[in-house]
Amino acid sequence: MKPVKTFLFFLLVFLLAACGPSADLGDPAVSQNGIEIHQPWARSAAMKTGMGEDSHADSPATVAVTGAFMLIKNTTGQDDMLLSASSDVAAETQIHQTTMSDGIMSMAEVFGIEIPAGGQAELKPGGYHVMLIGLKEELKAGKTVTLRLVFQNAGEVVVEAEVRNP
């Protein structure tokens, strides 16, 4: 019986280790003022100009849009907040939250994203994302997009997000 118990003990230890919150994220893409940005990426998107009937450069119909995602860790002992973002590839950048209610998806701009002290905030489909509105160039997979993130405490953090296909 004893070897079985020992085996089960180690199996349990292994499973706990595998499920633990310390899942290996690798090195952060950026670490600055206690804020770590992990695995930043943006969704590839084509331009709209030259497509369809409306060719006015600034009309809403020709504005191409995409989103950027990442994991933000706050290693400080103080709550922080992502207040805004900007990028050279987009005319405007907003922070959005997607919510689901009775199977209906809504997406709206939010004031910011809180990153609790010692905690993290995940920007992922179905939750938060950085919204890039009015793309100035086609975002092709393999390119990188520079995002300037502004935090309440950590200040400006610049990160390179890899463009990936959907």
């Binding site: 969704r43 590839s44 998107a45 084509a46 709209k48 497509m51 369809g52 009937e53 409306d54 809403p60 119909a61 504005v63 849009v65 995409t66 989103g67 005319a91 405007e92 907003q94 959005h96 997607t98 689901m100 199977g103 209906i104 998806m105 809504s106 997406m107 709206a108 701009e109 489909p125 179905g126 994302h129 919204m131 890039l132 509105i133 009015g134 296909n165 959907p166």
Partner: protein
Amino acid sequence: MNRQTILFASLALLFIAALLVTQTLMPPRMNGSVIDPPLAVDNFSLHSVDGPVSLSDFRGRYVILYFGYTSCPDICPDSLAKIREALSKQGERAGEVQVIFVSVDPARDSVEYSDVYVKRFSPDFIGVTGSEAEIESVTRQMGIFYQLNEPDDGGFYTVDHTASALLLDREGNLILTWPYGLTPAQMEDDLRALLRR
């Protein structure tokens, strides 16, 4: 072997046998929500970059309808990517399923851009849209909700919409919906069960 062991073993065997029988005879449990009885969908016609697309064009094949808009960088691409992944596991039989993305935002989504948007997921997907009235006639009969929100200062607006994918059988009846949040593996199982029919 004592009597107790034999009794236990027989019970266990009986249980396994019963399980196998119910598994093969009962219709497989779907991960999506089954529409029972199936809802007959009136034929409709929308527009793609290659011309009109009617539901009746796909008789004999399953159709997956997803309603969204291309300015959605979040749920829409996530759902389409998951559907693609589930389909890619069906091998040759994937050809018996047609995925159609319907843009409910024709003011911003031309047929050209709807096509470009959807082709980035798969060259086999079709992107369609139509006039407001044409879209209404499709969404209303299938219980799809959508609403264009107020534009912000820059003129950008979001669209609230039902995030479920709809599955229509080979005769064009609505038989299953996939709520947002199902995994590709769950969709894959549902598709496999459907394609066996």
